[in-house]
Assembly symmetry: D2
């Protein structure tokens, strides 16, 4: 009778363990997926910033060229 009772408990525990292990695998897969999404989001953001830095350099160039143009206009007005 004791053995029977123990067997029943053992079956219940075994089932609970299996469920918990299944949940474990699901959670591990979720962690991997979230880490990948986070990493790809960071790569994306870094590429975004790189593109913005390129635009910033272009903007610097345009401001420099506008300043040269401004100086030419100033010389033209005063010099001739």
């Amino acid at each position: 009778q004791k053995a029977n009772q123990l067997q029943t408990q053992k079956d219940t525990d075994s089932q609970k363990l299996q469920e918990t292990e299944t949940r474990n695998q699901e959670l591990e897969a979720q962690v991997v997926e979230l880490e990948q999404r986070l990493e790809s989001s960071q790569i994306e953001q870094e590429n975004f910033r790189k593109s913005l830095r390129s635009l910033l350099e272009l903007l610097d160039g345009k401001i420099f060229e506008l300043t040269e143009l401004r100086d030419s206009l100033a010389k033209l007005i005063e010099g001739s």
Copy 2:
């Protein structure tokens, strides 16, 4: 003897279940943390884009004003 053997197995299973449940809790905490990081990264990125959109509007204004200035210069050159 059978009962003894079952008791031993039960103890082993019970320990394994406890370990798996502990690991489960750790993984659940990790998922929550990763989801929070992902969400705050998305909020940050959206705020970044909002700030960039404000700058874009400012740039539009400057280009418009430069075009007005250009038109004034054109009229001045041809008109007088």
Copy 3:
């Protein structure tokens, strides 16, 4: 006879003098007109330059504002 000759010469001289004086008045009017055109041309040119100086100041303002916008973009890229 001498008096007659002198009278003729005097008439010729008088006519020539009159012609020369008429030409003189024409030339003086021409000088006045040219001086006025030159003066109004100089005034016009000075007004032209004043308008150009105003445009130059506006251009300075736009370049300054573009530089501020550029700095905001730089801070946004690096800071967040």
Copy 4:
């Protein structure tokens, strides 16, 4: 006596004619000089305008390039 009087008048007229002719030559030289100044002022002004037109074309180019940069920024903000 009449002849004498006429001779005197003739001398006066002759001197006046000479003075007027001298004044004439001065005025003609002044007209030539003023016309040259006016012409060179007009050439100068036309060259000034030509230089301004070149600057206007440069400004058009800069505005066009800023607009391209603005479009790149807009695509970057919305597209990625």
